[in-house]
């Protein structure tokens, strides 16, 4: 994959490559995740679920993708 076709991002602290032009929703689908059950933070800002399809991933973006787990 050439650098012009993919972007370099961080997802939960790990380096990942995402296709140029992909929305956050596209990226989640690529990762095999269901956007309905999680929350996404991009460069420390919450991305509202309703805009996941609209927001395009940019080179160097840092994402935190979280969900609910067992806890007290």
């Amino acid at each position: 994959m050439s650098v012009t076709e993919s972007l370099s991002v961080q997802v939960n602290g790990e380096p990942r490559r995402v296709s140029t032009g992909a929305s956050i929703a596209d990226m989640l689908r690529e990762l095999g995740l269901d956007p309905e059950r999680l929350a996404v933070e991009r460069n420390l800002e919450i991305v509202p679920r309703s805009t996941l399809d609209a927001v395009t991933v940019a080179d160097g973006d840092a994402f935190e993708i979280v969900h609910f787990v067992g806890g007290g």
Binding site: N12, L33, R37, E41, V66, F68, G70, G71
Partner: protein, 263 residues
């Protein structure tokens, strides 16, 4: 409350939401999701606490809590366990609100790993910010009536003093301060942390608390589902005893059988 009403009608309200179970249970430390779900069922709890953590990117097909404990049936109360600053706690709850879509949350800001004692300066700061942002925080705190009042003034929708350190199972260490908090608060008071066995939960309820929150006492019991049932019964028994109004204490004996007619 009318003492003749059946206990089934005894409910409590937090931030406009009414619940009949006064037991809130955690969902951590269980052997597996199935045991966790069975324990929640046995406890009769309507609210469960959950943590917010990173999705496992490496294996997104792993089973999820929501597959076993239906968020439509149980009120998920997202917590900030593991947060040691107001900033981290606020960030976590903003994500929780996005993941779940609700504003009722459990705030805890810890001071140190060894005791997991709350850092009240950070807790108060986080409460103020969260309330401004429209959250309805139920707040884990020290068993200090002044701190409790400050949290209430800052907009905490429930005050949740520790009975003893998180996961210690030591029971209610200071009944006096818990009672002082109950008497001073206009919002619900729940003992959060420190319960080890059923009698501890009953003590919290006998002190007039609106509820009890626990996790380890059930999850680390040898038979978690049975302990969940015990906790349900203890919370109900303690609540009924509180409503019934216990007898006065005397230093000396007072015979229960009549003295008249003794042979």
């Amino acid at each position: 409350m009318n003492a003749h009403q059946p206990l089934a009608q005894d409910s409590w309200t937090v931030a406009g939401r009414t619940f009949s179970s006064r037991l809130i249970v955690g969902t951590g430390k269980y052997k597996d999701f199935a045991e966790n779900a069975a324990a929640v069922e046995a406890s009769g709890a309507e609210i469960v606490t959950v943590a917010v953590r990173r999705v496992n990117i490496a294996d997104p097909s792993q089973p999820m809590l929501t597959d076993y404990i239906d968020p439509k049936r149980f009120t998920y109360l997202p917590n900030t366990a593991g947060c040691f600053t107001a900033e981290d706690a606020i960030r976590t709850l903003r994500l929780a609100r996005e993941a779940g879509g609700w504003t009722l949350v459990k705030l805890e800001v810890l001071g140190e790993a060894k005791t997991l004692y709350p850092d009240m300066r950070e807790t108060l700061k986080a409460t103020e910010v969260l309330v401004r942002e429209g959250f309805e925080p139920m707040v884990y705190c020290v068993d200090d009536p002044i701190a409790a009042r400050q949290l209430e003034e800052a907009g905490a929708v429930a005050i949740m003093p520790l009975g003893a350190p998180i996961g210690s199972g030591l029971g209610i260490q200071n009944r006096v301060t818990i009672r002082l908090i109950v008497e001073g608060a206009k919002v619900p008071v729940l003992v959060d942390a420190g319960v080890g066995t059923a009698s501890d939960a009953a003590v919290a309820m006998e002190l007039g608390c609106d509820g009890v929150l626990m996790n380890t006492a059930i999850a680390e019991a040898k038979e978690p589902v049975l302990m969940a049932r015990a906790m349900k019964a203890a919370v109900e028994a303690g609540r009924m005893a509180y409503l019934a109004g216990r007898m006065g204490k005397r230093l000396y004996a007072d015979p229960s059988s009549p003295l008249a007619g003794l042979i």
